[in-house]
């Protein structure tokens, strides 16, 4: 075993944040956007499912920076009730609750659940009473949306006065049909719910965005489902999505709190990068340092 001779090591240069860097004003990724009558600044919507504890969920929501959190409607457990309820762990004055219709496989059931969710939020006096994240699913294995049921439920819920945010596949034509049915926002899936596969088909998402926003650029489109890690959020936002809705990506991360921070930054990075406008992709390199004045031999010249 030999030890490294430290005395001969060069002195380490610590490069810390300069004062100037901190003083540069930062453009905001949090310009308001509207969904029906709801105005939202933070574009990350976070689910409340699958955390190990309610306390962990609270911390993750807190550091994610989100304003909107999703919840599900379920039967009360009448036997062996633990006595702890999700509502006791959500600051209802801070978060706008977006109830979902997860677990519904028909338009009728989704409408029932939406009505129950609205009733619950009205009782709590939460601003989320009146909007719903509509899910009408096809089967339990893929959790992919049933396009026909989604359309039917959208029409009915709009008649009932709901602001409908409809979960759909990344099929651009389905997305357009759902908008035409009266949805206030269309939420194409990046990949199947909870799969962590990210945005599997960026082309489809960008076509959804293009068709939904044609002559209606402020129509809100939120990429919902499939986020596995922070860069997935950035990719969705860079494509031009107005927001991202996720749950498992944070809740099942090894460190959900740290991942929630990462998601917050990823969203901001993606939004700013979309606003800034990315460069085009080129086949060949373009030098950042000028060739004019080089003292070197250049091959082929």
């Amino acid at each position: 075993m030999s030890t490294i001779e430290t005395s001969a090591s060069p002195q380490v240069q610590h490069l810390r944040h300069g004062q100037a860097a901190r003083d540069i004003p930062s453009p905001s990724a949090f310009d308001l956007f509207r969904i029906g009558n709801f105005e939202v600044a933070n574009r990350l919507f976070v689910g409340t499912g699958k955390y190990q504890t309610y306390e962990l969920m609270q911390q993750a929501l807190d550091v994610s920076g989100c304003q909107v959190v999703t919840v599900a409607v379920r039967r009360e457990r009448l036997v062996d009730k633990e006595g702890r309820s999700l509502l006791d762990f959500l600051d209802l004055s801070r978060y706008v609750i977006l109830p979902n219709t997860a677990g519904c496989f028909s338009a009728d059931d989704a409408i029932r659940v939406a009505l129950l969710g609205r009733e619950l939020l009205e009782k709590q006096g939460n601003r989320g009473a009146g909007w719903v994240k509509l899910e009408v699913l096809g089967d339990k294995k893929t959790l992919l949306p049933d396009p026909v049921g989604t359309l039917e439920a959208t029409r009915e819920l709009v008649k009932e006065g709901f602001t409908v945010l409809a979960y759909t596949s990344d099929d651009p034509r389905s997305a357009v049909r759902i908008k035409e049915a009266g949805a206030a926002s269309v939420m194409p899936a990046g990949s199947p719910i909870g799969s962590g596969q990210g945005v599997l088909n960026p082309l489809s998402i960008s076509l959804c965005l293009e068709l939904l926003k044609e002559n209606d650029p402020s129509f809100p489109v939120i990429v919902d489902a499939g986020v596995g890690t922070a860069s997935d959020v950035t990719i969705a936002m860079e494509l031009g999505a107005d927001g991202v809705l996720l749950n498992t990506g944070i809740a099942h991360a090894k460190d959900p709190v740290k991942m929630a921070v990462a998601m917050r930054h990823a969203l901001e990075a993606g939004r700013l990068s979309y606003q800034a406008g990315r460069i085009g992709k080129k086949r060949y390199a373009t030098a950042s340092s000028p060739f004019e004045g080089v003292i070197s031999y250049i091959p082929g010249e």
């Binding site: 689910g47 409340t48 499912g49 699958k50 955390y51 969920m57 999703t70 919840v71 599900a72 409607v73 379920r74 039967r75 009360e76 009448l78 009730k81 309820s85 999700l86 509502l87 609750i97 109830p99 979902n100 997860a102 029932r112 009505l115 129950l116 969710g117 009733e119 619950l120 009782k123 709590q124 719910i193 909870g194 489902a225 809705l245 996720l246 749950n247 498992t248």
Partner: protein
Amino acid sequence: MTIRVNGQDREVSEGTTVLALIEQHNLTPQKVAIELNRRLLRTEKYDTVLKPNDEIEIVTFVGGG
């Protein structure tokens, strides 16, 4: 008489109201929503007296995405 509560048969006495049923289960009316025979029942109607074979759903919020 028998009614169905959250998918399970329950025996309740004649004249039981929806509110009484909620309270029997130690639940807070403010934190649940109720469906009676697949139709939403608003809070102001919790004095409704249950009938045999009524189907009632008592729901609340749980974590979800």
